[in-house]
C-alpha cells in the first residue's frame, strides 16, 4: 500500500528508472472518461487525510487520496463548500482525481472552476521528485502558476499528492425557478440575466424547460425572484444534484455523450441529440453518433471545443487539433515534467 509519500515517490522513481508506464488511479470514479494505457497502477487512494483546515482562513489542504465526500462533509460541518461543485461520478471519487480531471459542476459559470479554487499543489514529477507549487494562502504570485497548470492535465505532468483549495461559505438560501422556453430564447434570456446583478448560481436548459438557481442572502434571493418571475421548483436542490452527477434521466443514453464547451451566447448548435445545456449556455451536452470531426467543428465555430465524455470505449480525450505552436509547447512541457513519458501515457490526447 502506497500510504506514504516516500512509497509513492519510490514507485515513480523505479518506473522512471525502468521505463515503466504508470496508470495513476484514485477512486476509479472517472475511468469511464479517461483511462491511461499502462500495465502498472500507481494507487493514490491510500494516501489520504486532511493536512490542514482552518475555516476562518477559507483554505483546506488535503492529500490526494482523500475521498471527495469526506472533504465535503468536513466542510459542511463548518458551513463551507467546494464552490465549483465538482461531480463525483462514483462513491470513492478522490480530491486528487477531482483536480487532475479539473471537472466542475453547475455553479462553475457563476463562481469559477476547479482551477480557480486551487491555491497550491504538491506533486511527484515523472522523475519521482517531490515538488510544491503555490501555497496555502489566497494570494500568491511567486513563481509560475504550476499548481493551476496541473488542473485538468489528467496526471500527465505529475502525480498530485496534496492540494490546497480555497473554500467558500454555503449560501444562506437557495431556490430554483423554472420557465417553459425554447432554446434560442432561453439562451438569450440567461445571458441577459448574466449582465444584471442577480444572484444566479446555476442554469439548465433541457427539452424546453429552463431552470435557474438563485443563491445568497434570503433577502437578495427573494428580491431577485420578484424581479425575474418564473415558477418555483419544489425539488430544486435534488435537480442540481442529479445534474451535477449526470444522473438526470436525460443523461441516460446509448449514444456517445459529447461535451461541447462554447461561448455562452453561441446560437443553438443545430445538432441532433441535444441532452442538456448548462453554465449559462456555455456548456452543451450532446448524445450523438455524429462524426467526431463534425462535433469538433461545431464547437470550434461556437468559440470553444468538444470532447467525447462517455461512450463505448473510454477514450483519450481527443483534443481536436491544437495549433502546431501550442502543440509544440505542450510537448515540451510534457517532456519537462515527465521526460520518459511514464505518467498516464496517452493522456490527455496526442499533441
Amino acid at each position: 500500500m502506497q500510504n506514504t509519500l516516500h512509497a509513492l515517490m519510490d514507485q515513480v522513481r523505479n518506473a522512471h528508472a525502468t521505463d515503466t508506464p504508470l496508470r495513476i488511479r484514485g477512486g476509479h470514479s472517472k475511468s469511464f472518461w479517461v483511462a491511461a494505457d499502462a500495465p502498472q497502477e500507481l494507487n493514490l487512494r491510500p494516501y489520504s487525510g486532511v493536512v490542514d483546515y482552518e475555516p476562518s482562513e477559507l483554505v483546506i489542504t488535503v492529500r490526494a487520496g482523500t475521498p471527495l465526500s469526506e472533504v465535503e462533509s468536513l466542510l459542511l460541518q463548518q458551513g463551507q463548500m467546494l464552490a465549483f461543485e465538482p461531480p463525483h461520478f462514483g462513491p470513492m471519487a478522490t480530491l486528487g482525481g477531482t483536480i487532475a480531471t479539473g471537472l466542475s459542476g453547475p455553479r462553475r459559470a457563476y463562481v469559477g472552476s476547479a482551477r480557480d479554487f486551487v491555491l497550491g499543489v504538491r506533486m511527484i514529477d515523472g522523475m519521482g521528485r517531490d515538488l510544491s507549487f503555490g501555497g496555502r494562502v489566497i494570494k500568491n504570485v511567486a513563481g509560475f502558476d504550476v499548481s493551476r497548470l496541473m488542473v485538468g492535465a489528467l496526471g500527465s505532468l505529475g502525480v498530485i499528492t496534496e492540494v490546497s483549495l480555497k473554500v467558500l461559505p454555503i449560501p444562506a438560501f437557495e431556490t430554483t425557478l423554472e420557465w417553459h422556453m425554447q432554446e434560442a430564447a432561453a439562451l438569450t434570456r440567461v445571458n441577459e440575466w448574466g449582465s444584471l446583478p442577480l444572484p444566479i448560481s446555476a442554469t439548465s436548459l433541457h427539452n424546453g424547460r429552463l431552470r435557474v438557481r438563485l443563491s445568497g442572502a434570503e433577502v437578495a434571493v427573494r428580491a431577485a425572484m420578484r424581479q425575474i418571475g418564473g415558477d418555483s421548483v419544489a425539488d430544486g436542490a435534488l435537480w442540481w444534484q442529479l445534474l451535477r452527477e449526470q444522473r438526470a434521466p436525460c443523461f441516460e443514453t446509448e449514444r456517445p455523450l459529447w461535451r461541447l464547451a462554447v461561448k455562452s451566447t453561441a446560437a443553438p448548435l443545430g445538432l441532433s441529440g441535444a441532452v442538456l445545456t448548462e453554465w449559462g449556455g456555455a456548456l452543451r451536452w450532446i448524445a450523438s453518433d455524429h462524426a467526431p470531426a463534425q462535433l469538433h467543428k461545431a464547437a470550434r465555430d461556437a468559440g470553444g471545443h468538444a470532447l467525447q465524455f462517455r461512450g463505448a470505449n473510454p477514450a483519450h480525450p481527443q483534443l481536436g487539433s491544437l495549433d502546431p505552436v501550442l502543440a509544440q509547447i505542450h510537448r515540451r512541457l510534457k517532456h519537462a515534467f515527465d521526460p520518459k513519458g511514464i505518467l498516464n501515457p496517452g493522456l490527455p490526447g496526442n499533441f
Binding site: 480557480d116 502558476d145 444562506a172 446583478p197 437578495a220 468559440g303 483534443l319 495549433d323 505542450h330 515540451r332
Partner: protein
Amino acid sequence: MSATPTQAEITSALSRWLAPGSILSQPEDVRPFETDGLSSYRQLPYVVVLPQTEAEVQSVLRYCHEASIPVVARGSGTGLSGGALPHAQGVLLSLSRFMRILDIDVLSRTARVQPGVRNLAISEAAAPLGLYYAPDPSSQIACSIGGNVAENSGGVHCLKYGLTVHNLVKVQAVTMAGEIIELGCDALDSAGYDLMALITGSEGLLGVITEITVKLLPRPQKAQAILAAFDDIEKAGQAVASIIAAGIIPAGLEMMDGPATRAAEAFVHANYPLEAEAVLICESDGTPEEVADEMARMQAILENSGAIETRFSQDEAQRLKFWAGRKAAFPAVGRLSPDYYCIDGTIPRRTLGAVLKRIYEMSREYGLKVCNVFHAGDGNLHPLILFDAAKPGEFERTEAYAGKILELCVEVGGTITGEHGVGVEKINQMCVQFRPDELATFHAVKAAFDPEGLLNPGKAVPTLHRCAEMGRMHVHHNQTAHPDLPRF
C-alpha cells in the same frame, strides 16, 4: 553566436519593420524607460521599440530571436518589483501604443482589449452598460491590463472577485520566436493544458501579450462600508477571522495599523480615529437588501470583537472617503520620510498578530520605522519601511529588513509575494521559498516557451547557482531538501 549587435545595427535592422519614431536609442530618449515602479533599480535600455501592431511585435521578436538579443516587455511601468527593468544589452519592447478597446460584448459580458489599455479605462468604457472589470489594483488609473496579466494583479476586492487570473477569458501572445499563440478561448475552458493560467503572472518570461479578453461583471446595485477602530491590532485580526467564520465574504476587508492610519489621516483627512491601533474597512456590495443584512451582521461581529468605534458610510461620497485614505496609504507614508520600501508578503491570516509583533521588533532592531497596510481578507500584508536613501547604508539596511520580513512570511506558511511579483526585487527570496528541484522546474517551464531564455532574462526565477551563492537554502520543517548532498 556572433558578437552582440551594436545599437546602430539593431536600429537599422528594426527600421525595416518599424517607423523611425518607433525606435529609440539616444540616451535622452530612452531615459524615461530606465525604471518602473521600483525606482531604486535603474538601467538604461540599449534600444527601445514602440510597435503599433501585432505584426510589428512579431517582427521585432523574430529579429531579436535570430540575433539572440534579450527582450523586456513593458506596459505602463507601474510594477513594484522591477519586472520591466530594462536589460543593458536588450531591447525594451513598450506596449504603450496598444491602447484600443477593441470590442465590448454586453451579452457575453466580455471586453477584448489591447494590452496597453489602462485597467480603469476598461471599467469606464463598460460603465454605460452596467458592467465593470473587477480586479482593481491601487494603481488602476495608470497600470495597463497587459501588465496586470503579466503580474496576476490583485486589488482591494479580490477576496470576493478574484485576481486577474480569475477574470480572463482569452489571452493572445507572441512567443520569442515570433509566433502568435492564443490561450484560453471564448468558452469557459479550452483544450489542452491551462496555458492561460500559466502565462498569467509569468512576469513577461513566457510571451509578449498582445490581446486580452476579460470578463466583465454586472456592477453591484449598492456598496457600503463600515470603518471600525480597535485599540489593539490582535482584536482587529480576530474580528476579521470572525467575519469570515460567520460565512461572510465581504467585497473589501482592509486593515491599517496605527502608524499607517495616522499617516493616511494627515494626508487625506478622511476623519480616521487617530487613537486607534488598527482600523478596519469592511465593504459590502450587492442588492440594497443584501447589503443592509450583511452590514448589520458585520457591525455586530465588529462590536463583539471589541471595536472601540464603528461608522457606516452614509452615502457614496463617504464610502469613497473611507477608501481614500487606504488607497492613498503609500503616498501618505511617502510624506513621512524621504523614501519608503513597500513589501508584499502573504500570510495565513491567523498568524497576523505574531507576524506584526515580529515586524515591530525588527523595526527597533534595524532602527527603521514601519507602517503596515493589510489586505486582511486575503492575508496580503504590505509593510512600508521608512528610510532615507541619502544616508549611507540605510537602503542596504532596509533591504535586509525587507528580506527578513519576507522570510518570516514563508516561515509562517505564506509567500514572498501576494500580488507585486518577484521581478528583480525578490529574486533572492525565491531561493527561500522554493527548493532547487522546484526552481529547476520553473526553468523548464520557461524553456518550453522560450528555449533560448531571451524574454525578460534574469527576472522572477533565480538560477540555482545564484541561490547557492546567496547561501540561502530552502529549509522546510527544519529539513533541507537533500540532506545527503554536500553544501557549498
